[in-house]
């Protein structure tokens, strides 16, 4: 091992500082009464959606596979938690533990078909499967509650807003470090090799389909966990969680944040949610215009800064240093 360079040391220091700030945040917010509680709720949502965005980026940024059906696994996780706690009376922690498994199983079945296709066709097939699952959840009244969804997911006594925030934060940090390990493992390197040059990856003996499928399943599992957490936060699950426009959210987050880094999508997702709430706070009617603002922002990123905020920051950082 070579000794730590100064830039990786600053990264560690800023990372730890950020984690400490995130842990202390609700204590600070609790000083502000109702408003503070609202922002704790918002922060929890940000953490969950950041996990969702990062899970997609395992296949999008690191694997180079554009999926428009990722929300399906998010939704499966959400419905797993909703159904297990509501209909099977399982404790929340068990239900949350089951969410990544059901999502992974779904991802294994869907992915088995999808990894056979490349590029655009892969994207459309994931979209087709995603919409298929959405339609099934939407129509199956007796099991999923149809378009009403499942309301009133129970919440354990000890998990008040602040405790639930901490709970989600810990889960997020665990997932973050697991993903970091995955990305920098030999598996992660193989995935990046496939992204950069599939032919070459085949030549050096990488089983492309198997690696892509495994990556697809892992991403699905993390998405399922995020979905389960969101269902618990909102205390409901609805078919919209599986809709293809929900699949677009982590893609946009990855684009805005930068898809060639692990933390980029998390940053992008947080920035987007913050912008939305910020607009809402300026004036309630601004919510109407949110999609226009978001669309315009994406246009700007696509046309002028395709490497996202992290890429932009790196460019500026490099210029600053030289």
């Amino acid at each position: 091992m070579d000794h730590m360079t100064s830039s990786s040391r600053t990264q560690w220091i800023s990372g730890i500082t950020l984690i400490v700030i995130l842990f202390v945040l609700p204590v600070f917010l609790n000083e502000f009464g109702r408003t503070g509680e609202y922002w704790i709720w918002v922060s929890t949502e940000m953490i969950i959606m950041a996990l969702f965005a990062m899970s997609l980026n395992l296949i999008l940024g690191f694997g180079g596979m554009v999926s428009f059906g990722h929300a399906a696994f998010f939704g499966v996780g959400a419905y797993t938690v909703a159904l297990l706690t509501k209909k099977a009376d399982l404790p929340l922690f068990l239900a949350l533990a089951a969410a990544p498994f059901t999502a992974a199983i779904t991802a294994a079945i869907v992915g088995w078909f999808c990894v056979r296709l490349l590029g655009l066709y892969f994207a459309i097939l994931t979209l087709a499967f995603g919409q298929l699952l959405y339609m099934i959840v939407f129509q199956w009244y007796t099991f999923t509650g149809g378009d009403d969804g499942i309301l009133g997911i129970p919440r354990p006594e000890i998990l008040g807003p602040t405790n639930f925030y901490w709970f989600c934060l810990v889960l997020f940090l665990i997932c973050f470090f697991v993903m970091k390990m995955i990305v920098s493992s030999s598996f992660g390197l193989s995935i990046k090799t496939i992204r950069e040059n599939m032919e070459r990856a085949k030549f050096i003996g990488i089983n492309v389909r198997r690696y892509q499928l495994l990556n697809f399943i892992i991403a699905g599992a993390f998405a399922g966990l995020a979905g389960g957490m969101l269902a618990e936060l909102n205390r409901f699950a609805q078919p919209d969680f599986l809709h293809w426009s929900k699949s677009a959210e982590p893609i946009l987050a990855s684009l805005v944040g930068g898809m060639y880094s692990l933390a980029g999508p998390a940053i992008g997702s947080t920035v987007l949610i913050f912008l939305k709430i910020f607009l809402q706070q300026i004036h309630p009617s601004m919510v109407e215009l949110w999609a226009i603002v978001l669309g315009a922002a994406i246009l700007v990123v696509v046309l002028f800064a395709p490497s996202g905020l992290v890429g932009l920051y790196q460019n500026i950082y490099k210029k600053f240093q030289s």
């Binding site: 459309i124 979209l127 087709a128 109407e288 669309g295 246009l299 696509v302 046309l303």
Partner: protein
Amino acid sequence: MTWQLFIFMLINGLCQGMLLFIIASGLSLVFGVLRVINFAHGSLYMIGAFLAYSLSTLLSGESLLGFLILLLVIPPAIAIIGFVLEVTLFRRVYREEHLLQLLLTYALVLILDDSVRVIWGGDPRSVTRPDLLAGSVDVMGMALPSYNVFILVIGPLIAFGMWFLLYRTRTGNVIRAAVSFPDTLGALGVNVSWVMTSTFMLGCWLAGLGGVLTAALSNIDLGIGMEKIIECFAVVVIGGLGSVGGALLGSLIIGTGLTFFQLPFGRWALVFPYALMALVLVIRPWGLFGKPER
């Protein structure tokens, strides 16, 4: 099922299919030439429908003339919107990766759909059918809505028109050459970027036409763009990306399939397009009429 009911459902299914074809063929044509899947096609279709509504309130509809004006004015208006979008935005991403192209068109969906919400609001609307098409036609003892029959006539006309344009005119030769050999075509002195712009406009014209026809067929609301674009994807994938003939077959399969499955399966019939789309992609990704990617 009596044979009369069968015929009745078949005609209704074909009518749905023809309407879908008019919209989906535009998406397919644009993909064939530009190699961009335009998510915003559904939004343009929706704008066409809402513009038709607004113009019809100005024209005091019900007269055949008013409806003809809608059919003559709205589709070109959508084509002009398409022209602006192509020249300012699409043109800049043709050489980029698929993801950026998809995101660009998705950004347009967000902007256009929300603009429709801001301008027209969320209430369902519809265009009054002209007197001539408001009644029903008597076919073999069954009363068929004459508007559905009208769409059944328009659909094949559009299909024939597109076939004629693509395979029997010089313009069509140029468009088809732009699909297969854009670089050679450019070397031969054809302005390829103008071919792309006009093809895009033609696609948008079809979306606008579909919008006008829908507005008088059923209620229109803010969801129809998102709903229709996914149906169009299904059609285009089943028929083969870029193939107009395939789009016709795909539309008719989905239109009739949806109608017939509604009898035994009820609302579950709505699963059919997605299931078929996934099935075709798994078995024959390039679609029934398409060719495997080069």
